[in-house]
């Protein structure tokens, strides 16, 4: 294609072959780009599972296919962002301040628009399903308020978060117009949130349990569609609105959109608490609640920590082994063979061993003659003959996972093992979809009032395609409507926009599908299996057991923390929203800040945060110990940092916890939690979002050199 050839004709005619060639080389580039993002985390997970834990990868074919689909999906989605969503947001942002919408001046309309956009984005990408998964083990007796919010109040929770995000975007837009710095917002927000956190921590146990949920809400609200759209919008507005030399560059909205939902959820919890409007509060006639007194202040200490105690009890009764009956099973042939062997040798054949399951806590001592020692026999225990080692399923593909149904039906996001056992309604041994949504009646019976298991509000219980359409189409429709009808401006390349939006939908759909086929099973099995570093477990979907890797559980837990650290690093690098943020930063600063700088800093931060989060779960630490000090430190860091790094750093906190990180991290958190007695898996995500702020600000302080003092004033005039 030379320059001469093109100068006369208006459009260039390409042969089909040329077209295919162009498309092929283009797609190759894009796929390679995504592989560069994803390879680390995938390789790491596989290497860890196979080499460090020494376990085979179950459903390996399905996982491999899923990963391919993720990569293709990411390539489509990022292209969709580049062609469709981001230009749309930027065009709208740069038009909005200059024109009146239906005769109303720009500022009020922009603000209203910001609110609608923020609120709508939350409904489009509700991450509440993730939070429900994290709270799957919450016991209504122990944390009635948290349980209420997650179950019967889930619809309202989404509304609260939506309003929170709406107000955040509104304030963010107002900030652009007025040229305000982000720092005061941060100071005020962090102070209010810290005070509320301390209040909730120490005033009442029921309020305390909500803290993890509230802080995690802030981390998960901003998804891979919202972030690029809001960023692009901000950039558009800031291109137009002159702010008198201040370095407002369109960032900061995501920060506010992470802080406000926390506040909203806390307020919601306080409201429910004060109005006594939560599960089995005052209105309850149940005996165990009537005795509890106002707000359950007379609850026995045991009941208040019911979940933890229960988990601990299970853990102790089984000697660290708590597995499904299936694991103890042997085939008929095996049974015959063992019988024969026992008859012949009075010993178990090689490869088989005894496992004892304790169900009662009674022992009978039998003193030994001539000694003060005694033999202790255990009652109510059962011994099983089990195979040594474990047996992974032979299937390469999970028979329950079918691509065709995944488009319209959501795969179960989390494994049954993490769900409370008492919700198994039809007693078939597993928790069917729908059974995880239940309520406990005042008389103590379980009521599966919503047997279809669907929330009435917007939820993530959508299939891959449905979810993608929901996340993208309504938002884009609103933006296009405002742009074309409200502002009477046609985008320059309508065809590009439409193709971009379609690409985004296709990409998102494939991405969702690939995550549930590939990343979630991989993350789940690793999350479950990494526990084998300090506890005896039944490997994911396998029969049998592996023994703990280290005798000292502290060492094993440290390995788990290290695993979480590297997992956080790799998963973050693959996050699409972070990639979009990095590219935006690069674009805004004309390349002065390299995308890599931000990505690496954020990834390190998330790694630190997730490492801390795993430590929190593994050692059962209190969340506020881990949250308040970093935020106080952040106040100081924010104070001494330059405005642009404050903007990038705080914004990156909101984008880190996306669709790749969350399933991996939650699966691991819940897996470890189930072994250590920490039933709810909250807190890891909020820690994962505070980490990157710290590292970005620190890196900012390290790399940013002060503008050079004009030491040398030597004349250096070159000509005339």
């Amino acid at each position: 294609m030379s320059a001469e050839q093109s100068s006369d004709s208006k459009t260039l005619q390409l042969s089909l072959r040329q077209k295919i060639e162009i498309l092929l080389s283009f797609s190759k580039d894009k796929i390679v780009e995504q592989i560069q993002c994803v390879w680390f985390i995938i390789l790491y997970l596989i290497v860890f599972q196979v080499l460090v834990l020494g376990l085979p990868i179950v459903y390996s074919l399905m996982i491999a296919a899923g990963i391919m689909i993720v990569i293709v999906g990411l390539a489509f989605f990022m292209e969709g962002l580049r062609l469709g969503l981001m230009p749309l947001g930027e065009t709208l942002g740069s038009t909005l301040p200059r024109k009146k919408i239906l005769g109303i001046p720009c500022l009020p309309t922009s603000l209203a628009f910001g609110f609608v956009l923020g609120a709508f984005a939350t409904f489009a990408e509700p991450a509440i399903g993730v939070l429900r998964a994290a709270g799957a083990g919450v016991d209504p007796t122990a944390a009635p308020l948290l349980w209420t919010i997650l179950n019967t109040g889930a619809g309202l929770l989404v509304n609260c978060v939506g309003v929170g995000v709406g107000i955040a975007v509104l304030l963010g837009v107002l900030r652009f117009y007025k040229g305000w710095s982000l720092k005061p917002f941060i100071y005020a927000g962090v102070l209010i949130l810290s005070c509320l956190t301390l209040y909730m921590q120490f005033s009442d146990d029921r309020l305390k349990h909500v803290l993890g949920l509230a802080w995690d809400c802030g981390a998960v609200t901003t998804g891979p569609v919202t972030v690029p759209l809001v960023l692009a919008l901000g950039i558009g507005v800031c291109r137009i609105v002159s702010t008198g030399g201040s370095s407002n560059t369109g960032f900061g909205v995501v920060t506010l959109a992470s802080l406000f939902p926390i506040l909203a959820v806390m307020c919601y919890a306080l409201y429910l608490f004060e109005t006594d409007n939560y599960f089995c509060a005052k209105q309850s006639t149940a005996e165990w609640h009537l005795k509890a007194g106002d707000y359950g202040k007379n609850y026995p200490e045991d009941l208040q920590k019911f979940g933890e105690l229960k988990a601990k009890a299970i853990l102790e009764s089984t000697g660290g082994v708590e597995e499904s009956e299936l694991s103890w099973s042997l085939s008929v042939d095996e049974r015959k063979m063992i019988q024969d062997h026992l008859n012949a040798h009075k010993a178990l054949p090689e490869g088989y061993t005894l496992k004892t399951k304790v169900s009662e806590g009674k022992i009978s001592p039998r003193p030994l003659v001539g000694s003060d020692r005694e033999n202790v026999e255990l009652f109510g225990s059962k011994s099983y003959v089990v195979r040594e080692g474990y047996k992974a399923p032979d299937e390469l593909w999970n028979p329950d996972s079918d691509i065709a149904t995944a488009f319209s039906n959501n795969f179960d996001f989390f494994p049954n093992t993490f769900k409370p056992q008492e919700v198994d309604k039809n007693n078939n041994g597993i928790v069917d979809p729908g059974e995880d949504f239940y309520s406990i009646e005042p008389d103590g019976s379980i009521n599966y009032s919503k047997t279809d298991g669907l929330l009435t509000g917007p939820d993530q219980d959508r299939g891959a395609l449905e979810g993608a359409i929901w996340a993208i189409v309504p938002l884009c429709a609103i933006l296009l409507l405002v742009l074309i009808v409200g502002l009477r401006q046609r985008p320059k390349h309508m065809d590009e926009l439409i193709i971009g939006i379609s690409c985004a939908v296709i990409g998102m759909c494939l991405f969702n599908l690939g995550i549930s086929l590939g990343l979630t099973p991989l993350g789940e099995q690793l999350g479950g299996n990494v526990v084998s570093s300090f506890a005896s477990i039944q490997p994911w979907q396998s029969e049998g057991f592996v023994d703990p890797m280290f005798h000292s559980s502290t060492v094993g837990k440290c390995l788990a923390i290290l695993f979480g650290f590297i997992l956080g690093y790799g998963a973050t690098l693959a996050e699409p929203a972070l990639n979009a943020l990095g590219a935006t930063v690069e674009k805004i600063t004309v390349g002065a800040f390299k995308k890599n700088l931000l990505m690496q800093a954020v990834a390190t931060g998330v790694a630190l945060g997730i490492g801390t989060g795993v430590a929190k779960i593994a050692f059962n630490l209190e969340l506020w110990y881990l949250l308040i000090p970093p935020y106080v430190m952040l106040l100081f860091l924010t104070f001494i940092s330059s405005e642009d790094f404050v903007n990038f750093g705080w914004d990156s906190a909101g984008v880190t916890t996306g669709p790749i990180t969350v399933p991996l991290v939650l699966a691991m958190g819940l897996g470890i939690g189930a072994k250590t007695g920490a039933i709810d898996g909250f807190g890891v995500l909020s820690l994962a979002s505070v980490g990157p702020i710290i590292t970005v600000l620190t890196v900012g302080l390290l790399v940013r050199k002060k503008p050079k003092d004009n030491l040398s004033s030597e004349k250096f005039v070159e000509a005339v």
Partner: protein, 371 residues
Amino acid sequence: MNELNTMDKVSLLTLILPKESAPQVSNALAAAGAKGIFQVAARGSILREGGFLSKMFPPPAPEQFLLQVLVPNGLREALIEKAVNIGKLDRVGSGAIFAINCDSAHLSSQFPFAGSRDTDDLFSSIPTLEAICCICEKGVAEDIAQAALSAGAPGPTVTFGEGGGIRDKIPLLRMTKGPEKEFVWCVVDRSESNEVFTNMARAGRITEPGRGFMYSIPVSDGIINVTSTVSSSSHGASLEQVISVLDELKGGKEWRSGTESKSASLNTTFLHDLVGLYCVVPRDHYSEVYDAVLEAGAPGVSTNFGVMTDLGSDSDSESCNEEWALVYTSLSPGSVDGVLNKVSSKIKDLDIDRFAFYTLPIPKALTYLGG
């Protein structure tokens, strides 16, 4: 109403300033009578020193602004002096200012231009500097800037923009190639310009198809004091300080071009004596102008977006930036008038009342020439 005023004694004054001092200088220029100061965000360059840490956490490059303003030759000296004083441009690393004689300029009556539209004496200054501009695909600029640095150019400056040509003639497949382009600007001494030009061209592989376009313009006078931050803090003196001391010791800048033999000349033919055609229009109209230029037969077009710092909407209490676009194409001298006429008639049709054309001489350019 849209008659063009044609002038031929006009200079294009270009400034490269660090982010900190840009507002001051542009205000001072406006106060001194310049109008229509076009400001583009830019970044400076840093010398990379490899190392694991700086690869993982690449240090940010200095943020800069590129300012361009059309001034009548009569005002030129005064403005340069003013800018040098306010921006302290005589100090190391404080920025650059240089002026380019325009072949001709055509301004609409509404286009912001310094008051006196009557012509003045033409400066008879002999160009001693050369501005090199390279338009390349996004992501390539870093390599080109590094090549320019290593060839001795002080602080290449990079701006973002859009560009196209062939791309816009492909119906839908055009989206496989984004319009985003990077522009590398650097101003070097004439004696060094060949080597820098060649090095940049080689680093950017400009002579291969679809890689970009680069050209040089003679600069009549200016002060170039752009820094290149060195990414390691272990150096006592900045590179510029070292070089300027060397200059003094050697009594000139001749030593810099002493190693001419090592740069093998590019095995290609340059395009000689082209004319660069620049249109300045408000951003809202840029896509029409862009299309018009392409329709008129220009092989390729590139655009820089920026704001006119001294113009703001005065109607609202909220101050709005006026966004403008600088649409650039390079043509052979013979076809300039044709394109000019076509585009200006198009502009008349569209009733755009604020725009300007100017043309600059381009003695040397390089791109893929087909075949």
